[in-house]
Amino acid sequence: MTIFLQSLLSGILIGGAYALIGVGLTIIFGVMRIINFAHGDLVMLGMYASYFLFTLGNVDPFVSIVFVFPLLFLFGAILQKTVINRVLNALPQNQILLTIGIGLILSNTMMLLFTSDYRIISTSYSSGSFRLGEISVSTPLLLSFGITGLVTAILYWFLLKTDTGQAIRATAQDRDAAQLMGVNVKRMSVLATGLGAGLAAVAGALISPTYYIFPQVGQPFTLKAFVIVVLGGMGSVMGATVGGIIIGATESLAGAYISSGLKDLVVYVLFLLILLFKPAGLFGKSRV
């Protein structure tokens, strides 16, 4: 029972960051109907940004998100305006290939600039933990989970209460109808990509104290983000939030009970099963 609770808790804690990554992907998909295969590489950029802020500017990784978010928001917005915008009406396959290409460019540029060496951020709390009864709780994971909750709350407020947020949601619901109602859908696409990139990067910064940082670290996050988004329902922010927690917990439990090498395999098998038997996900309408 202790093992169960222990892995469930660590899974949920890491699931918070997964949720942010998934939410970013789902917002981009919702507004533009484009699956961003470079999403994990945006997480990687967030990790590097946090790393350099820490080593060069002595900024704590958890504080660094106030710099990392606007930085990557800008990056995402520029990426949308200059490149992704051109394939909005192209075949879905071509959109996917383009974002795969962008991902390759991002990860290999980082490799070219900073080599493929593994880097770590060692803060005073990196390996800290405290005990809660029988269970040990990792301090950095708990902190990052708390901040994730805060960021998610702000995001929900933004999407539900502000005019811009409602315009984004309207565009996601029906692009043409939103345009007829006077929503500037082009601007919403730029905003959504910026927001998605920013959220991915914030997640990257939040997990940077507990992960190795290297140029290829993004790829598994891309795949995980898809699993999360498909589980929650493509385009559903709520679904991605719940999906992130579920995938985090599943992965952690599979690691404890099956084998740590096979935990990703369990996640992919689960992914195929969802695609086949519940393609609409938990909170979405079927678009398959």
Binding site: A90, I105, M111, D264, L276
Partner: protein, 365 residues
């Protein structure tokens, strides 16, 4: 829905010129090792043939069928791992090991196809990636058979001996050259046949409009499955040849996502849904990555006086650019998708057609 491109919808079959040029090219390539003994040149050609085989194989399901599998590394890995595991741990000669490898690829393709072909568009792409990742994780974790992350290092390929005399000795690259050439020619011929066959027409109908094809009575999943099985068959064969030729495989180089992406790129860059598109794509990709690996691009920049060899930029480029071929792939795919959606061959054909149309209009005046 208007036809997307003229290249893909024009009359099937090859022109007389293409047939003559193809035969001439094959004859020249067959004579190539007789005149060129430089092992590096032979190595480049083997790499080129492997890329052609995989590009043509992917083209059947991806180009003609419009089913963009980004998981062909699974079949490549099945071919490479089956043959090398059987050879290394059980001493099974590769030409016998090839049979179970190809059979396994066919079987896996049939199963994977019947599961994933129920999905469409991006969902199919995602599922194909997930399947390949599952195979990579199996290769990584099934240590007793695959030796895990350390990979398999071949101690040598046994010669082919018939009746006590040695027929083929694999100590040089030349036997691999001929095997690669033969298989590349075979895949091109299969593509020519496929393009004009009922199967090929069905797949193209599915690519243009699945629902319309279905309403005409084409069983979608069945025909997609057949095309995927042919595609997987040749991809696995290429994988086996690669494993034997290089003599080393590990989960990343034999089943990694990079392999899947490279296979797709070969077809996309040349031009999908055409017989010679993947050949053009393979030539471009192999030439480019070798130019990077051998630092030819840096040398060119230095020779052109753009960068000084001893400057910090020159040293940086020399040190790093040789590892950056995936970066160039990224730029290539972005450029092709944005500016040449029909691939290089498609862009050249379109330009030629425009010129002819202009000339015809000028003559009529």
């Amino acid at each position: 829905m208007p036809p997307r491109t003229r290249t893909r919808t024009r009359a099937r079959g090859l022109s007389a010129f293409s047939i003559v040029a193809f035969i001439a090219a094959v004859v020249l390539l067959a004579l190539f090792p007789k005149f060129v003994e430089n092992p590096y040149a032979v190595h480049l050609m083997v790499t080129f043939f492997l890329a052609v085989i995989m590009g043509e194989a992917w083209n059947l399901i991806g180009g003609y069928g419009g089913q963009y599998s980004v998981g062909h590394a699974a079949y490549f890995g099945i071919g490479a791992y089956t043959v090398l595991v059987l050879l290394q741990t059980n001493g099974v000669a590769p030409w016998w090991g090839l049979l179970p490898a190809l059979a396994l690829a066919l079987g896996v393709a049939a199963i994977v196809g019947s599961i994933t072909f129920r999905l469409r568009g991006p969902y199919f792409v995602l599922a194909s990636i997930a399947v390949a990742e599952i195979f990579r994780l199996v290769a990584l974790n099934w240590k007793s058979a695959t030796n895990g992350a350390e990979g398999i290092l071949l101690s040598g390929v046994p010669p082919i001996v018939i009746g006590g005399t040695e027929i083929v000795n694999f100590s040089s690259k030349v036997p691999f050259y001929y095997m690669g050439l033969a298989l590349a020619v075979l895949t091109v011929l299969v593509t020519v046949w496929f393009q004009g066959s009922k199967l090929g027409y069905y797949l193209q109908a599915i690519r243009e409009d699945q629902d319309a094809a279905n309403s005409l009575g084409i069983p979608l999943t069945f025909y997609k499955n057949i095309a995927l099985m042919i595609s997987a068959f040749f991809t696995a064969w290429a994988g086996a040849l690669y494993g034997l030729y290089v003599g080393f495989i590990d989960p990343q180089t034999a089943v990694g996502l990079d392999i899947s992406v490279q296979i797709v790129l070969t077809a996309i860059i040349g031009g999908i849904g055409t017989v010679f598109g993947p050949v053009v794509g393979a030539a471009i990709l192999v030439a480019l990555s070798e130019a990077l690996r051998s630092n030819a691009i840096t040398d060119l920049l230095v020779a052109g006086g753009l960068v000084s060899e001893t400057s910090s930029i020159g040293i940086f480029l020399k040190d790093h650019l040789s590892h950056a071929h995936m970066l160039i792939y990224g730029f290539l795919v972005a450029i092709v998708i944005l500016f040449m959606p029909d691939g290089v061959l498609g862009a050249v054909n379109n330009a030629a057609r425009r010129r002819r149309a202009r000339a015809a209009a000028g003559g009529a005046r």
